[in-house]
Amino acid sequence: MTLDPQLILDSLPLIAQGLGITLKLLFYSSLFGIALAVITLLMRISGRWYLSWPAQAYIYFFRGTPILVQIFIIYYGLPQFGFIRNSILWPILREPFTCCVIALGLNSGAYVSEILRGGVLGVDKGLTEAGKALGLSSPQRFIYITAPIAIRLSLPAYSNEFISTLKATALASTVTLMDVTGVARTLVSQTYAPYEIFIAAAILYLAFAWISYVALAWLEARASRYVKKGN
């Protein structure tokens, strides 16, 4: 019983069948996460306690608990209540895919919100003052000055978070989704060759993480054009 490299190669195309779901999960939950992050960021910097407190509570809960447990609460936990099964949300919560997107998005939103806040705090106060002195309104200052700079400052941390979300999609297999990990686990249950098949899955994830990393580094370099001395 040792490692069979041929089996790793053979199982790669089989496992890759789950790539579609993994990528879809990643795409939708990242989008959802960013949207949530922006909303909670605005709530937090609004200066109004009744907006800022719920945002902080949300961030606190989702950063303080394991993502697996969050998935279980949303997928298995919520239907414990009849009113949820009878509500108009049920068609959404009924689907494991959307449940996963919701859980992953809520989780990533909490982290991204903190990342963006770090970016906003990193914008030199002098720049907003210059905006004020030029007569720009507060929304104008946020949109044209603070936001673009904060986004650039947030990109390195965001690329880490993006890869975390990619890795977290692997937990979708625990709620019936046939993503890369789900397919791999099913294959294992048929072939009884966990070592080779999980290594093949890991290779697939690593390759995709690497591609994401390179893409985000490129984006970062593009967004940072203006920082470099070009003379």
Binding site: M1, T2, L3, Y60, F61, R63, G64, T65, P66, I67, L68, V69, Q70, F72, I73, Y76, G77, L78, P79, Q80, F81, I163, L166, K167, A168, T169, A170, L171, S173, T174, T181, A184, R185, P194, Y195, F198, I199, A201, A202, Y205, L206, A209, W210, Y213
Partner: protein, 231 residues
């Protein structure tokens, strides 16, 4: 709630398991992190290359896949290895506790590697030179000048890694260690109250992560005491 009460002692035992895994994984992560950082900073290309591969792999592959590879695979490899020396051996086994703790330790150790490396490089080289100029040996400089400053720089990230370890313990339920997420699964199969059970798990985690956060904040305050009242 009555159902929950019946499972109270199981949750308590599960919490103890979580804490045990946490402590063991933390110790391992620090060890792997220090070794990794030393290797990354090594002038030997092969050593630093290997360390880099370690970091990329364990940060890029999903935790659950690594855990499964460890649980199923390492025993197989170890057995083959040991049989090579001692053909009489039938099996070498790694119980889920050790497989899980080691996997988490290795995963978070990869993150710690980068943190420690950054902290090491973050110390102003002038500090080291002035220690040499005062006649301190390399060894004395390391322990009296570098380390005391290093841990202050590493601490904020280190706190985040501790939280990651804590939350990763939930994954061990997938390989059947009876920690709180697994207790909740067992309890759900009897009580049919998934929300109650998983929410309990979430709140236990939230309590522990809150404690860790406060602990790290206190440590940070202590480590930064020399910057208080700085001008």
């Amino acid at each position: 709630m009555a159902d929950l009460a019946a499972w109270g002692d199981d949750f308590l035992l599960g919490t103890l398991v979580v804490l045990k895994v946490f402590v063991v994984a933390l110790i391992m992560a620090v060890i792997f992190g220090l070794i990794g950082a030393a290797a990354r900073l090594s002038r030997n290309r092969i050593v630093s290359g290997l360390a880099k591969v370690y970091v990329v792999t364990f940060r890029g592959a999903p935790e659950i896949i690594i855990l499964l590879i460890f649980y199923f695979g390492i025993a197989v490899s170890l057995t083959a290895l040991v049989q090579y020396f001692d053909p009489a051996t039938k099996f070498v086994d790694i119980p889920p506790f050790w497989a899980g703790s080691t996997a988490i330790g290795l995963i978070v150790g990869a993150y710690m590697t980068e943190t420690f490396r950054g902290a090491f490089l973050g110390i102003d080289h002038g500090q080291v030179e002035s220690a040499y100029a005062l006649g301190l040996s390399k060894f004395q400089t390391f322990f009296h000048v570098r380390v005391p400053q290093m841990w202050r720089l590493a601490l904020p990230n280190f706190g985040n890694h501790m939280l990651s370890i804590m939350k990763d313990t939930a994954l061990i339920s997938v390989i059947g260690l009876e920690e709180i997420t697994f207790v909740a699964q067992m309890a759900t199969s009897v009580t049919r109250q998934p929300f109650t059970m998983y929410m309990t798990v979430a709140l236990i985690y939230l309590a522990i992560t809150t404690l860790i956060t406060f602990g790290v904040a206190a440590l940070e305050k202590y480590a930064n005491r020399h910057l208080r009242g700085a001008r």
